[in-house]
Amino acid sequence: MSDLIIKGGRIIDPAKNVDKVGDILITDGKIKSVGKELSSTLNAEVMEAKGKVVCPGFIDLHCHLRQPGYEQKETIATGTRAAARGGFTTVCCMPNTNPPIDNLPLVEYVKSVAEKEGVVRVLPIGCITRGRKGEELADMVEMAQAGVVGFSDDGSYVKSARLMRRAIEYSLPLGLPIIEHCEDVELAADGVMNEGIIATRLGLCGLPAAAEEVAIARDIILAELTGVRLHIAHVSTRGSVELIRQAKKRGVKVTAEVTPHHLSLTEERVLGYNTNAKVNPPLRTQVDIDALIEGLKDGTIDAIATDHAPHMINDKLCEFGMAASGISGLETALGSLMGLVHQGRLDLTLLVAKLTSEPAKILGKKFGTLAVGSPADMTIFDPDKEWTVDVEKFASKGHNTPLNGEKLKGKVMTTIYGGQIVYREEN
């Protein structure tokens, strides 16, 4: 493997509190040195990064790679290429596949396909309950032995408080987070978009913020009871942010993530029955966005995760009520989020932390930093490059995004995983 030297970039490494212009030398897939004016070794490839940000590869705590079972929507091969294109070098894939990842052989399967066909690191998440049915516990210990990094019935809430309590108690020795899709089934009922005047205008059944908040409140209480690490997926409402803020103040071991779409898009995107804006939890309001940004800033919300949810065209080209929920988000994440930075609403270094060091902390992993000796997982992005989202150029099979055709400012130029260039922007 030849050496690689990245020269003159703005190096942001939140784990090390680094934000300076300099060079990085990569040898044998690892970070060899970081400093000013590093001299290149003889056989090193030189990459000019002036005016660009050089940071640890992004870590996505929450995506859907759809394999096994829904390979027409996405595969580990296409999903990891989409990740690379979006600057992600580590993705945690949710177990709502078919069959759901609820036992050891299935975890092994995902890992082996990822090894053979993936281009970035894939960390599987296992089910909390067998078959994601919410009735009995999945084989949590065996899945942990096989390498899952957390447990989730994502897409479904564990309806039974009793079973949820058992799940978090049982998994206590494993030290892995329980990642909960918080949505009270009864309150959510047939809801397909945020409850409010736009749902009223469109005659669509509303999903109240309370459906999320009631569920989060229950789980916070259970986490408090058991002392287990609870991670709340895709937080979308102001009330949820407040619940988590208060819980953290009390010392409850709770962490939370938010998606780029919940940080940047409102329910108005649904007007005209835009099925590409149908997502669960639904797009909310500007008030919620403001609270989510506040939550990122004060540490209430730890990480940004895409909830990349690829679907086929026909899953979306139908009546709104019938359409699948989800946004293909890996490839637009940075551009969407940089919009907040350009608006002055989010600090660039904070954004990088929420995509790198913070999710690494939740996973308890050593990557997500540019410290010497770390795996050379890196993202190089141009914070000012304007580009137009074109789903035809997506690596993901999922072309379902409400952002198609829109201009974003901020583009991933190069993604390096274990010292290998896995994505490079072609000009």
């Binding site: 005047i197 009223t200 205008r201 469109l202 005659g203 669509l204 099925t275 709104f320 009520g321 019938m322």
Partner: protein
């Protein structure tokens, strides 16, 4: 294309000259599809009203048929049961000499993978020039419209819209009140799940009426406290006596039985106690107030029998006007440039 009034060897001349004159200028008409009234201009709504007058004149004749749609095929595609709306559209199309094909689809046949767009394209392929569709899912027509060349007319979609009902209600009110501008119209009942209410709120507000909504809180839609800019402003009143007081029009909505099962109401008795329009409550409205209902009426639930069959009830007029309004829309669509 020529206006349907021209080039037919003066066949439309059998229409009253004055009536024809009223609708000769159809330049205000902009729609290729009729999906809802929320995107109708006041001028378009007024044109529909004028055209309906002309159609009423046709319907008053011994031979109530004109050749406007001769050689055109109108397909009605209903994913939900309907008697009056479907029959009304069918008669409207036949009165304009169209060939009419009625297709029934089970709501249960709506499923992922069975594309609504494919179904509509198939109807076009067999020769449909206009498709009248009712669908249980809100917005179904909006998903289909960009992919359909035939004129698509919404005969009701989910909780969302029922534009022809709103237009026939407006027409009926105007016949009695002259204008809706400034008058108080109280809509009572299951507002939340009512596409009739939704389209009426748009249409009547646009034409200047003061709309008051009266329902138990569980049957009111969310967000009405701050509706702008997505929904018209309407007053809310949960007490029917206050809501009906001094009203020029009281419109009751049909109550679906399943509302009790889903916990929105404890039972019929309380609904009747709180929201039925009876003689005593009607007496609180203006002396010349009219009583409306989109039908079918649950007699003695939404309307007391003596109110439904009383002198102030215009429920049957609504049905009669429905045919004329739908003729007017089919007529205007036939003349739309894109056809």
């Amino acid at each position: 294309m020529l206006s349907p009034y021209q080039g037919e060897r003066g066949e439309m001349g059998i229409m009253d000259k004055e009536a024809v004159a009223q609708v000769r200028d159809t330049s205000a008409w902009k729609h290729h599809h009729v999906l809802d009234v929320d995107d109708f201009s006041v001028a378009e709504i007024e044109l529909v009203m004028q055209t309906t007058d002309a159609m009423k004149e046709v319907l008053a004749r011994p031979i109530k048929k004109v050749p406007t749609l001769r050689g055109k095929t109108v397909v009605t595609l209903f994913y939900e049961a309907s008697t009056r709306t479907r029959g009304s559209f069918e008669l409207a199309a036949k009165n304009l000499s169209a060939d009419v094909v009625n297709m029934t689809a089970q709501a249960s046949s709506i499923s992922k993978g069975e594309s609504l767009i494919d179904t509509l394209n198939t109807l076009e392929a067999i020769g449909a020039d206009m498709i009248v569709m009712r669908h249980p899912l809100s917005g179904a027509h909006y998903c289909a419209a960009p992919h359909v060349k035939a004129n698509l007319i919404n005969a009701g979609d989910g909780w969302h819209a029922h534009p022809t009902q709103a237009l026939l209600d407006l027409y009926t009110i105007q016949k009695h009140k002259g204008t809706v501008a400034g008058i108080k119209i109280t809509i009572v009942g299951d507002i939340k799940h009512s596409r009739v209410a939704h389209s009426n709120i748009w249409c009547l507000s646009k034409m200047g009426a003061k709309v008051m909504l009266c329902a138990p809180p569980t049957l009111l839609p969310a967000g009405l406290d701050e509706p702008a800019p997505y929904f018209p402003q309407a007053e809310i009143e949960t007490d029917i006596e206050k809501a009906v007081r001094d009203a020029d029009v009281v419109m009751e909505l049909r109550l679906q039985k399943e509302r009790m099962q889903s916990g929105l109401l404890p039972g019929l008795r309380e609904f009747i106690g709180g929201y039925q329009l009876n003689k005593e409550r009607l007496a609180l409205a203006k002396p010349d107030a009219i009583v409306m209902h989109p039908g079918p009426v649950n007699e003695n639930i939404e309307l007391a029998a003596d109110v439904l069959h009383g002198a102030r009830s215009v429920v049957n007029e609504q049905v009669a006007n429905g045919v004329a309004v739908r003729m007017a829309l089919l007529y205007l669509l036939a003349g739309s440039k894109e056809l």
